[in-house]
């Protein structure tokens, strides 16, 4: 009987790309390999008895090769979709991407139109989902000004999107020092004037520090004044408000904090 070879990798774009490289070049055949990224969400209690687990060490070179061939042999658009899926919180996204690439390398740039194919359809759905969350956070993200003029933001997105948010804010606020902190993942995007932004792990982030620093900003009150007075009281519609701005975003938004 055929045992599945399961390539286990880090839950990151580079990790997944490396695993794809390894699985592809392993020679076991597409049907006999699987990719599994390691993250809290995946439940490993159902490890398959008759599978062989192979640990993949992230290798930038191999990851780069994969991204290059996606761009060249499929398209830039497909590459962007793959990136967004790789940053999503979808379980088994690694394997989904693998299946997508099998089809993609066969059909080329046209693959994104094969909507009735389940794999493609699933990819596009997740892509849209991540894209929507990014778009929401472009608006819902709030900075507070710290004493030293640093703009600081805490968010708790579902997907791992700070690397998708940072370019927008770096373009918008080129003269500012800012930090976007993903409170659920303990990573942050940092920007300093005149330099490219970077992503950095904060393994021992101290949330107290974050919240203590917040109290110095006078403009918070002005913003709340505006927010409260701009609503038309004859049209109060909290359901519509909740539909447009789900509660899960609010705890990090200035105007909803007391």
């Amino acid at each position: 009987m055929n045992t599945k070879k399961i390539f286990q990798c880090k839950n990151s774009m580079d990790g997944i790309f490396t695993a794809i490289y390894e699985a592809w070049s392993s020679g076991y055949g597409h049907d006999n390999v699987m990719i599994e990224e390691l993250c809290e969400k995946n439940d490993y209690s159902n490890m398959q008895l008759f599978s062989e687990y192979i640990t993949v060490n992230t290798d930038m070179e191999k990851a780069l090769k994969v991204s290059r061939s996606i761009k060249q042999k499929i398209s830039e658009e497909a590459f962007e979709i793959v990136c967004r899926v790789a940053l999503s919180d979808y379980r088994q996204k690694g394997d989904l991407i693998y299946r997508f690439l099998i089809l993609g390398f066969r059909s080329g740039r046209d693959i994104v139109n094969h909507i009735s194919n389940d794999v493609v359809n699933q990819m596009l759905k997740i892509n849209r989902n991540v894209g929507n969350e990014v778009h929401h956070f472009l608006g819902f993200l709030r900075f507070s000004q710290l004493e030293n003029n640093i703009l600081f933001s805490v968010i708790h997105p579902k997907n791992n999107i700070i690397s998708l948010l940072a370019p927008h804010f770096a373009d918008r606020l080129p003269q500012e020092k800012f930090i976007i902190f993903d409170g659920g993942r303990n990573i942050c995007a940092l920007h300093l004037p005149g330099r490219p932004w970077i992503i950095s792990d904060i393994p021992e982030a101290n949330p107290d520090m974050v919240y203590k620093l917040k109290n110095y900003d006078n403009y918070k009150d002005l913003w709340k004044i505006f927010f409260e007075n701009i609503a038309i009281k004859e049209r109060i519609n909290l359901k519509l408000q909740r539909n447009n701005l789900p509660l899960r975003y609010r705890k990090d938004m200035t105007e909803f904090q007391s």
Partner: protein, 479 residues
């Protein structure tokens, strides 16, 4: 009039945001502009909502009045000169600081500056011009600016402001010149259309000069019969555009175009009249958006309809739906309404309503119908139609595929076939389908539910409502 000296910025903001809230336009869309590395700000054509206020509306811009002092006395307006309310004015610097600091914290996409009329239109607009100039030139603000043009403003000022703003708006306020005269005695239609025309010509001319084909100009709108000019006497086509100077190549005049606002339900005009005006504004004045604002009788003015039961939100919603049909779906006003049927059906959205009156055109075959035809199917929107066209190149689509693609079939199933077959054997029968559609609970903005529907029905009794409405309610309650 109460004018307080030395008012705090908090108090001013309170007064001048409250006074601005009835202007419904708050989008930051229509212009793509990268950051410029030295200043602050960029802009995305799709627009960004930053938060939603308690009325459920998107907040994208710092929407404030420069001043709520006003020499005019428009009946519908909270700031009218005859009201005894606290008045306040910002200084240009205060507006700049608020905008910059709000923007840095990502509260907003930019500024929407409107104003009451202090001393004179020109006096007020000069202050506004100074604010915009400072924001752009001193503060290096590169974000979005929407600026209101007060009727009667000198064309030279309009011209000067247009180079600093992304979007300009002159509010038409009411659909007919007569209503305007009645409710806003100091305004006249011509003074509103004049700057509109000036902005349009300036934009066209400059875009031509830059070789920009303004794609957002609505091509779908062709030959509407009524020329809005003719109802108000001609507006000169060749207004002298001041400042013949050459401009920095990248600068554009009001790149996000212009919009306007109509108050709905303060006067007796029918939906047909309103939509005819909108169509003319899109077609003849190149407007980007017409906004509809359900009338709220803020002054409890007895000569105007009472809105104690709530503003006509459902009607406003129908007008927005119809407006979309005009701008993106290739519909013409005359297809949706006419003199015998001057108002929208409150129980069905305008597209369903249209389709029910044109059952002879249905069902359409999903695998063959062209884009325009697909767009006319109830339940199929612009995105769905595009997805269908893309997907069917690679496979013959069946209902399952449509579902997988996220297309909502609830309403569409009565109007489409896949491979010549309908999803269920359905009789193409108006009564039957109407009943099904009414029962299928159209997704409404929350808060506009059936309760309000009934209340609003009575509100519209005087607006020549469809005679068959009561039948439809019967159908609805049976379903």
């Amino acid at each position: 009039m109460v004018i307080q000296e030395g008012m705090s910025i908090q108090r001013k903001l309170e007064i001048l945001s409250m006074a601005a809230r009835y202007d419904v336009a708050c989008t930051s869309s229509g212009v793509d502009r990268k950051g410029n590395n030295t200043g602050i700000g960029n802009s995305l054509a799709c627009g960004i909502c930053h938060t939603f206020s308690a009325d459920g509306r998107c907040i994208s811009l710092l929407k404030i009045l420069f001043t709520n002092e006003c020499i005019f006395d428009c009946k519908y307006c909270i700031n009218r000169s005859s009201n005894d309310i606290v008045r306040a004015s910002f200084t240009p610097r205060e507006v700049c600081e608020l905008t910059m600091e709000f923007y840095r914290r990502n509260y907003i996409e930019g500024l929407f500056l409107s104003s009451g009329i202090k001393i004179s239109p020109n006096h007020t607009m000069e202050q506004i011009y100074e604010t915009l100039r400072m924001l752009r030139d001193e503060y290096n603000f590169n974000g979005y600016i929407h600026c209101k043009i007060i009727p009667g403003t000198d064309p030279v000022l309009v011209e000067a402001i247009g180079w600093y703003a992304d979007r300009l708006s002159c509010n038409l306020e009411l659909p007919t010149a007569e209503s305007l005269k009645k409710l806003a005695p100091h305004k006249n239609r011509k003074n509103i259309l004049k700057p509109m025309r000036q902005i349009q010509l300036r934009r066209d001319r400059h875009n031509e000069y830059l070789g920009i084909d303004d794609a957002a100009r609505n091509r779908l709108l062709t030959d509407s019969r009524i020329n809005i000019d003719e109802t108000d006497g001609p507006v000169a086509a060749n207004i002298i555009v001041p400042f013949g100077r050459t401009l920095p190549a990248k600068k554009r005049f009001a790149p996000a175009g212009q919009s306007t606002q109509l108050i709905i339900g303060a006067t007796e005009e029918s939906d047909y009249q309103i939509m005819t005006v909108s169509e003319a504004l899109y077609k003849n004045f190149g407007l980007k958006r017409v906004f509809y604002s359900a009338f709220v009788n803020v002054n409890q003015d007895e000569s105007l309809p009472s809105t104690l039961d709530g503003p006509p939100l459902l009607r406003e919603h129908r007008l927005y739906q119809a407006d979309w049909l005009l701008r993106f779906y290739g519909f013409k006003t005359d297809e949706l309404l006419d003199n015998n049927k001057p108002n929208f059906n409150l129980l069905l959205d305008p597209k369903c309503d249209w389709a029910l009156r044109h059952l002879e055109l249905f069902p359409v075959e999903v695998n063959k119908a062209d884009y325009q035809t697909l767009l006319r199917v109830p339940g199929i929107g612009v995105n769905s139609a595009r997805r269908i066209i893309a997907a069917r190149k690679h496979a013959v689509l069946d209902f399952n595929d449509l579902k997988k693609m996220g297309i909502v079939l609830k309403r569409a199933i009565y109007f489409i076939t896949c491979n010549g077959r309908m999803m269920y054997p359905i009789k193409i029968d108006e009564d039957f389908i109407t009943r099904q559609l009414l029962a299928s609970n159209e997704r409404m903005p929350f808060g506009i539910d059936k309760d309000i529907t009934y209340r609003q029905l009575s509100l519209f009794d005087d607006v020549n409502f469809q005679p068959d409405m009561h039948d439809q309610i019967k159908i609805l309650s049976q379903a």
